[in-house]
């Protein structure tokens, strides 16, 4: 019983990580329909930004404040990935709207370039990010069940990011313009919205959120040039299963994959578990090709 409870927590935790890495893609792929194969590399950029922030703190800031570096690192990761995304959009992506296959190949190439760039700057071996002391250890809810603070922190972080995205997209003027452009570009342009600017901002925000994901991932996994490749498949899976174009779909997609995946893995093993999850997803997409949450607009038809 205890183990089942722990597994449920693990499932939710895995879902939160999946959701975090997929949220940025839910914007760039889900809303903008850009197949961004470099998404994993934006995650990697976020992770390395965290590493650099840590280095900066250890060498320039008194050790007493070291614990706070991670909070700053989240913002730095967002900012750096945001800038990379912005530059990528104005230099490459904007020429590729409506040409999904071209953007697929081009962004894949960009991903490879970014990987090699990281390898040239930081060296090929992995680097280590030390988690701040307040994230070490865990909450012991009952005997034998320890909920690691890091995983609780990531769940909270996802909740905050989701809330911020919701407020931005559905409650702010910029978000309203963004939705207008995504739904009907010509009409929005006629009403005086600069669609160019909205496009580049949207893409940059999606990239920035990938940066936040990279920052969070440093707590759990490796930080190396190819780290993005481990997450890119899952990210696309979540968005496709959840339904392209709807953020809330990604939440359900992540929960579905995370929780079922964790239990399948517990009952069988990691390899078989993953296969079973893929089979379920494929079967599901046969039944509902548009994913869990279907968007009702004319723009997709």
């Amino acid at each position: 019983m205890e183990v089942q409870l722990l597994q449920l927590f693990n499932g939710i935790s895995v879902s939160s990580i999946l959701l975090l890495i997929a949220l940025g893609l839910a914007i760039t792929f889900g809303l903008m329909n850009v197949i961004n194969m470099a998404h994993g590399e934006f995650i990697m950029i976020g992770a390395y930004s965290t590493y650099v922030t840590q280095l900066f703190f250890t060498s320039n800031i008194p050790a007493d404040y070291f614990g706070y570096y991670f909070v700053l690192a989240i913002l730095v990761s967002f900012a750096v990935a945001f800038i990379f995304g912005f530059v990528l959009e104005i230099s490459l992506i904007r020429f590729l709207y409506g040409r999904p296959l071209d953007s697929l190949l081009a962004t894949w190439g960009v991903g490879l370039v970014l990987q090699q760039l990281a390898r040239s700057i930081f060296g090929a071996p992995n680097v280590a990010v030390q988690a701040p002391a307040w994230l070490n250890g865990g909450l012991e809810v009952m005997d034998g069940i320890i909920l690691p603070y890091k995983r609780l922190f990531i769940i909270a972080l996802v909740a905050v990011v989701l809330l911020a995205m919701y407020l931005f997209i559905y409650r702010s003027n910029a978000g309203r313009r963004m939705r207008a452009v995504m739904q009907n570009r010509e009409m929005a342009a006629c009403l005086g919205i600069s669609t160019r600017r909205v496009d580049s901002m949207t893409f940059a925000i999606g990239s920035g959120i990938a940066g936040i994901a990279g920052c969070a991932i440093t707590l759990l996994g490796s930080i190396g040039p190819s780290l993005g490749t481990y997450y890119i498949v899952d990210a696309f899976m979540v968005v496709v299963l959840g339904g392209v174009g709807k953020l809330i779909g990604s939440v359900f997609g992540a929960l579905g994959i995370g929780v079922t995946g964790t239990f399948f893995e517990y009952w069988t093993n990691a390899s078989i578990g993953k296969v079973l999850v893929f089979i379920v997803i494929i079967a599901f997409l046969q039944w509902k090709p548009k994913g869990l949450v279907t968007m009702r607009t004319r723009s997709l038809d």
């Binding site: 597994q7 693990n10 991932i217 190819s226 890119i232």
Partner: protein, 428 residues
């Protein structure tokens, strides 16, 4: 119309993602006998590299490692060490009075590329020998090329054994120089209940097959055997299973980046090295830097060399390596194995008086070298080398403290002929 485009786009994305994941997944340290062994192209036969060029004042050798792609993480350092050895030999006058000229090729973490580049090195560059490879998949891909063209490959990484090609010298450990003695030591010192955890491909599966046979023969118990896909990033479920199985020892054959995730998450789950012994065979100094010493302190690893190995040769080696590539670099077992491979080859060439592959192979038998890890000797029969086996514990500074070392270098036994329980393993 548009709908069709989109559904096909989604399919293409998924296919691409899977390909990418495949690449990412291959960050295996060792092993991974892939299904990619290409059949060597039957033309060009006989234009081999035998008697490779001694023309001019230089001897050409090839270095073939992954300098890009996921394996670059490990192989770049080995390339650096090999270059350093070549530079040292050149500074001391070269081999047979000639300077060594290096041709560096990039295997790009892609096994067919390794075969193609090996062919290029042997045929086009006419190199006398090649130092290279890391994963077993890359070695298995190159093997037919070297056998066909009668080239010579020096392979620097510990691997799963059960192989002995006349065209390859293995300077890393085979199973009886790493895994088998490690299991013996654990049984004696840490307990009998083993949890086997590995990445899901050939090296861990072969290693675990050997471990299970050994445990059965020596009164140990395998409580569980778990495999995760290469590049797996979430170990919470595996850790739950470890908690349930309550083993004395986790024998870890995970490879590449999965180690980072496993150890970080193990610590978060409240399990430290005091609560549970883990012994890894793919975590060396270089990996420790990437995982973080705070996470790994107290965990064990089995190798044949540590940066802290106390020999005068090692002191010189570490100092030279740091001087050449930066104070923050560390040396590790495969790096050292790459370094000594160059010296062993040079010694064999000096002894043979030529770079001719057959003569070098004959001359290599019995060659001794005072390596950083201590004295090593080439075993002519198996073309592996005698090595000491070390069990080490990770310290707070990321270095190993040697807990146990064999008195003498252990004779290589890739087919485990010296172990009764291992009979039948080789045939499977």
């Amino acid at each position: 119309m548009k709908k069709n485009v989109w559904s096909s786009v989604v399919m293409v994305v998924l296919v691409f993602s899977l390909i990418l994941a495949g690449c990412g997944g291959n960050s295996a340290n060792n092993g991974n006998t892939g299904n990619t062994t290409p059949t060597p192209d039957a033309t060009n036969e006989g234009t081999g590299a035998e008697g490779s060029t001694d023309d001019g004042d230089t001897i050409k050798v090839g270095i073939l490692h992954s300098l890009s792609g996921t394996m670059a993480i490990s192989e770049v350092s080995v390339k650096d060490a090999e270059l350093m050895a070549i530079n040292e030999i050149n500074a001391a006058g070269g081999v047979l009075g000639k300077q060594i000229e290096v041709v560096i090729e990039d295997g790009a973490s892609d096994w067919p590329t390794f075969a193609e580049k090996a062919r290029k090195l042997l045929q086009q560059d006419q190199v006398a020998t090649v130092f290279g490879g890391w994963t077993s998949a890359s070695r298995k891909a190159m093997l037919p090329v070297f056998e066909e063209l009668n080239g010579l490959l020096w392979y620097p990484v510990q691997y799963e054994g059960l192989e002995s090609s006349p065209n390859i010298f293995y300077t890393g450990a085979t199973t009886n120089q790493q895994i088998v003695p490690a299991v013996e030591w654990l049984l004696e010192n840490r307990g009998k209940k083993f949890f086997l955890l590995g990445s899901d491909y050939v090296f861990p599966r072969t290693a675990n097959k050997i471990i299970k046979a050994q445990l059965e023969a020596s009164g140990g118990e395998t409580v569980a055997e778990e495999y995760t896909p290469l590049g797996h990033t979430d170990y919470s479920t595996v850790i739950s299973k470890i908690k349930e199985a309550k083993p004395d020892v986790v024998f870890n054959t995970l490879n590449g980046d999965s180690n980072v995730a496993f150890f970080k998450q193990l610590k978060d789950a409240g399990i430290s090295a005091d609560d549970l012994t883990t012994l890894s065979v793919s975590v060396a100094e270089e990996e420790i830097r990437g995982i973080g010493t705070d996470v790994l302190e107290g965990h064990l690893a089995a190798w044949n060399y540590y940066q802290t190995t106390d020999t005068p040769e090692n002191e010189k080696f570490v100092a030279a390596y740091k001087a050449a590539y930066g104070e923050d670099r560390v040396t590790a077992d495969p790096i050292e194995a790459g370094y000594i491979a160059v010296y062993l080859w040079a010694a064999a060439v000096e002894k043979a008086g030529t770079t001719d592959v057959d003569k070098v192979r004959e001359a290599a038998d019995g060659i001794e070298f005072n390596a950083p890890e201590g004295k090593v000797t080439i075993d002519g029969e198996t073309q592996h080398i005698y090595k000491k086996v070390l069990i080490g514990e990770v310290q707070a500074d990321g270095m190993f403290k040697t807990l146990h070392s064999t008195e003498e270098p252990v004779k290589p036994d890739p087919y485990l002929k010296g172990y009764e329980w291992a009979s039948g393993l080789a045939e499977q």
